[in-house]
Symmetry: C2
Subunit: 445 residues, 2 copies
Amino acid sequence: MTTERQLHFNLFLHDTGHHEASWRLPDADPRAHLDLDYHRRLARIAEDAKFDSLFLADGPALAGDVGRRPQGRIEPTVLLTALAATTSRIGLIATASTSYNEPFNLARRLSSVDWISDGRAGWNIVTTAGEAAARNFGLEDQPLHRARYERAAEFLEVATKLWDSWEDDAIVADKAAGVHTLAAKVHAIGHRGEHFRVAGPLNAPRSPQGYPLLVQAGSSEDGKEFAARWAEAIFTAQPTIEEAQDFYADIKRRVLAQGRDPEHVKVLPGLVPVIGETEAEARELDAELDRLITPEYARRQLAKTLKVDPETLAFDAPLPDDLPGEDAVEGSKSRYSLIVDLARRENLTVRELIGRLGGGRGHRTFTGTPVQIADTIQQWFENGAADGFNIMPAVLPSGLEVFVERVVPILQERGLFRTEYEGRTLREHYGLPRPVNQYTLASVQ
Amino acid sequence: MTTERQLHFNLFLHDTGHHEASWRLPDADPRAHLDLDYHRRLARIAEDAKFDSLFLADGPALAGDVGRRPQGRIEPTVLLTALAATTSRIGLIATASTSYNEPFNLARRLSSVDWISDGRAGWNIVTTAGEAAARNFGLEDQPLHRARYERAAEFLEVATKLWDSWEDDAIVADKAAGVHTLAAKVHAIGHRGEHFRVAGPLNAPRSPQGYPLLVQAGSSEDGKEFAARWAEAIFTAQPTIEEAQDFYADIKRRVLAQGRDPEHVKVLPGLVPVIGETEAEARELDAELDRLITPEYARRQLAKTLKVDPETLAFDAPLPDDLPGEDAVEGSKSRYSLIVDLARRENLTVRELIGRLGGGRGHRTFTGTPVQIADTIQQWFENGAADGFNIMPAVLPSGLEVFVERVVPILQERGLFRTEYEGRTLREHYGLPRPVNQYTLASVQ
């Protein structure tokens, strides 16, 4: 049992890899995203390496061109439940939208995943940008950014009440008396708010973790405030250590201002490892992937994010000066700013920017040798930039394999990463407490 | 390969058994409903016996007293996905509500279960009676019976369009050209109806079965019309062979009137087997279970279904004459009539009625020896009353074990039930065709 501060690793599963052209590599299976055995293999590798968790992104709509890369994934709670059956320790974090779900249904489903996995469920809370999703749910356009976050906040209130609506000792199973569960320990929640009216209780006993680990990934002002109030782990895209340090300090400050313990919120920047035996080898892999990007698809996607006509983006010129600005964006504000800042800071042409985004979509790409990557991880971890990383291999499974075979052992030797799981639940892996039940608390007072 | 008409068996999973007092038996585990290993064991027994499918009921609210019996189950798509991982052939039928889900979310999730299980998903379509459920979704009371079925019909239109929105050959995976999927074979659905506006396409390729097997269980006039239009298998409660024959003929007639093939809709009455080596032994097991019913709970539940005050139901008197009548019921109309008809026909006291409902909730209880039960099954099957049965053991797992060890072999010897799976998908087990894709059809014409 170590008491030193330890790194946390989450594996961000993403088809054949996070690089958008990874499916075009000779060894890639372009139907991997629909293949349970493929995902089992990845989960096994990550669990053998003692990663904290697996994670799946999601949105209820197609994301742009279907020609560009594999689309149409298996819904995360379904895929992770299937993976729960063939793993025993690794956490399982599913993305689900507060804008396009009902709190009762989603709270109940996540509780079920926590039961099925014996305490390994996590929820990446998203508000879902984009009009494509909105139009699958009876709306003409997406709700405003602020409105989505207001709904999300009330959604979390409802969900946590529902998860607490059964006290942990409600089931008594008294066969002789014929009393299965004590009605006095199962509470209606009677929620009446601006967005939701939910009577409760949940139709499920409180799950092993109390409720799933709450994860959040938006880095806008609204997103950071929401994270400070609710998140226990934060996925974030930080291109440089300086920006990561600013973000880290800002989040921990906000968490403290909410009256929460900053150690109970783990900040995990995205990390796209591109690993070679030599730096040159790593760069060649990078270049090979970038050559496989179809520039027209990528430009169309970039234009959509920037809210401009694709024709206004010349491949060999920098971004135009007259972009609409973050305030005009009602989709993902933080993603917009990340991309524009990156292009301006490094004075990239559109073609160069596409290459950078194709690899890590704005996340930090670490191209180098195993030792160089381990050094960078340690540097970020020990200098207030990260509590761990969201590992996003450009190519799967090979990028994961080389990371766990070559980088993880270095970090273990340095005493920075576990060699065995010490806890049983996902929340225990991240060093987070099991939430106190608000109704038990209320009845004690 | 047999061409004879064959029985179909579905196992209705239900905690420690369908008898409401089954959890109070000495061997029962009162936490079985939360135990994945327990469900795996039941699934294994049913798959070894070559059952067509497993089935889970569901509703988004607690159903009455929590003291009475185990409540708060694992959500069916989650539990069945977990069971998909440890089975390979048996079908997996999840109940989900058209009143309290969005079509995009549910269509997508069921498609995912079909992918994960390699073509074994089924959907038991319910409109969800009761104000408890309504109050978890912002409503004060349940929508009217007719309105629920209108929404359900439009829900199915949307869902089937979404399932067809990717043609089966949309993915081309052309690495050289950099084209993963053909945009021309992925169709927006542009649905605009009274209840839903859904743009589509689904964010998932068409699943192995095209779409999940469609199952329905309501037996009201609205329910039967809905079933005739959409269902491929029907679960129904039929207390006598005569009533089952009438129902069977009525359904097949309605299916024909819809322009569908009556053989493509399988009628499966519920069957609660209580099996003994002798008739006396079977009756003793029945009686032991009924002694364990807590009459106050059961009377409260009965009063709720009948829309009367519990105090008006004297235990040792028949039902009062002045009941409100099916027309006044906006919940489950067919269940109301089933109970009242049963009590009147057999002139039961409230106490006797509670005993009958505690065992099979109005479904046909077969109490007897293995040969007697096999004879009855054969009689119903060969005389236009059933295409198979929804097996609802009063006690689990023991009631299932004795059914598969003692009754199934008799039916196999008589050539009425398969000894090996012949198909791969759930739809193949039931002898049903894979649905034609409406968009492929449209583009060919």
